[in-house]
């Protein structure tokens, strides 16, 4: 090319908005992409489209009135949010939850984990163009939702944890139905893994994409499979066991790969471990009450409490500050996806636009908990 032609040929970066309405942006998320051709120079997530002021609302509700609200945060794994809130209130007010309730909470949390990971897996595969996996995952998820409906009456936001335990004990037939689920699930997980890991295109789109070095992940406060996919074995169930987890055997799934594929491997293994946990709960479930004696209007002492659980997305925490009144002074909701999404700045380095879909998918965010 002549000198005159090369002078006028240059590249410029361009800013492109991906979202908030986009078929593969999980929820209302806007990513401001600065593109240098097809390569991403910078990614700035723009959140807040789903901000409903839940923390402020918590200050104007009694402790019991606020119970159904946390379900609406991470609505794909509502049992975990609801559990963390109830635990925080129980800690604040010094309420001891009966043993049977602790074991049942583990049961429901693990069923919730599988259901959430199935949504993740199905939509992740769908984002990458694999339709079949999506339909298979949702078929199994229906069975779990049927179990939840049998026990709680609801399919998505159950508000089943109450301050002091659970709303009700298991209904007749639940244990048998759950057992049937445990029997068919391992083969199904094998099927998904086969369709996924055996697909060269999926592997090529995920391996080496979205790298998150472990120290960077820790510095971001990332958690859950997003952090464990970088080899860090931080799992609240193991590090700060809650409910009955200290009495149950399970492995914490990690992967040293640090990429999207590593995060996939962690979640697949977690589903298997969840089945293992549920099996132990059904075998070892203690007898007794599922609800402690709690005063009608709870006035915890003027103090603070922090409780956190391992939700399917990571470290979900609730921080309560009380002034001795019937409603909290402050309800702080610490959502794992908030920190996990912030880390996308690191994971998207050198990525192309198509990779962003895989990266966002691999983090498994729910805007409800990010925005609150």
């Amino acid at each position: 090319m002549s000198a005159a032609r090369t002078e006028i040929t240059r590249t410029e970066t361009k800013i492109l908005s991906m979202g908030p309405q986009h078929p593969s942006m999980h929820g209302v998320l806007r990513l401001e992409l600065t593109l240098d051709g097809e390569v991403i120079a910078k990614v700035r997530p723009d959140i807040g489209f789903l901000h409903r002021g839940l923390e402020k609302m918590g200050e104007n509700r009694t402790y019991a009135q606020f119970v159904p609200y946390p379900d609406r945060l991470d609505y794909v794994a509502s049992f975990s949010n609801n559990l963390a809130y109830c635990e925080a209130v129980e800690k604040l007010a010094g309420i001891e939850v009966p043993r049977r309730a602790k074991w049942l909470r583990v049961l429901f949390l693990e069923l919730q984990r599988i259901a959430s990971h199935l949504v993740w897996l199905g939509t992740f595969a769908l984002d990458l163009g694999a339709w079949t996996v999506f339909l298979y995952c949702f078929r199994e998820r229906e069975i779990i939702l049927d179990l939840f409906e049998m026990a709680t009456g609801a399919r998505l936001t159950y508000s089943w944890n109450r301050i002091g335990g659970l709303a009700k004990d298991l209904p007749e037939g639940f244990a048998r139905a759950c057992q049937e689920f445990l029997e068919l699930m391992p083969a199904r997980i094998q099927e998904y893994d086969g369709l996924f890991s055996g697909n060269r295109i999926l592997r090529a789109r995920l391996e080496g994409v979205g790298l998150l070095p472990p120290e960077v992940g820790i510095s971001y406060g990332a958690s859950g499979p997003t952090l464990r996919g970088s080899g860090v074995d931080y799992d609240v169930r193991r590090v700060e066991p809650f409910e009955a987890y200290s009495e149950i055997d399970f492995n914490v799934a990690t992967s040293p790969l640090c990429d999207c594929y590593g995060r996939y491997l962690v979640r697949i293994e977690e589903m298997r471990q969840s089945l293992r946990i549920i099996r132990q709960v059904l075998e070892g479930l203690p007898e007794g009450e599922v609800m402690a004696k709690v005063p009608r209007t709870l006035r915890p002492p003027a103090a603070e409490a922090y409780a956190h659980v391992e939700s399917p997305r990571g470290d979900f925490g609730v921080y309560l500050v009380s002034d001795g009144g019937d409603r909290p002074l402050r309800v702080r909701l610490r959502a794992p996806s908030f920190c996990n999404l912030a880390a996308i700045e690191e994971m998207a380095k050198g990525a192309k636009v198509a990779d962003i879909v895989a990266i966002v998918g691999s983090i498994d965010i729910v805007l409800g908990e990010i925005d609150r």
């Binding site: 959140i47 807040g48 901000h51 960077v216 002074l329 908030f338 925005d371």
Partner: protein, 135 residues
């Protein structure tokens, strides 16, 4: 650990206590950044949470930092003014602090000096006021 920190920051630590696996410290804003750097160097590497509490009498910013190696928390409580309050940003110590501090600015109005990109994160950019303050 409290002993060592009190030695390094004789005037900076107003109150301290231990509770299970948590070390709770009430910290003067002037020593916050240095203290955070020390904590990070001592293995407190994971910013579990960074938020603020307005208890009606005053405003404080609360830092909950976890040590992944020792499995314990350092919880810092830093008093700050309700109007025009500012603190040094600790986003240079823990990257997660960047978004946490934006949220505290958005909802409580605290300025974080040295923050690379201090703007609202949840509310629209043209929103007026800081809703979680108790007026």
């Amino acid at each position: 650990m409290i002993e060592r920190l009190r030695e390094k920051f004789p005037k900076g630590i107003l109150e301290s206590s231990e509770h299970g696996n948590e070390t709770l410290l009430t910290v003067e804003p002037a020593v916050l950044l240095d203290l955070c750097r020390q904590l990070n160097a001592a293995g407190f590497d994971y910013p579990a949470d960074l938020t603020a509490v307005d208890d009606g009498k005053g405003l404080r910013v609360v830092y909950r930092i976890f040590s992944t190696s020792e499995r314990r928390y350092a919880v810092l409580s830093v008093p700050v003014a309700r109007r025009g309050g500012s603190l040094p940003s600790v986003s240079s110590v823990w990257r997660g602090a960047e978004w946490f501090e934006r949220e505290v600015y958005d909802l409580f109005g605290v300025h974080f000096r040295g923050h690379p990109d201090l703007r609202r994160i949840l509310l629209p950019e043209d929103w007026e006021g800081h809703p979680l303050l108790k007026e």
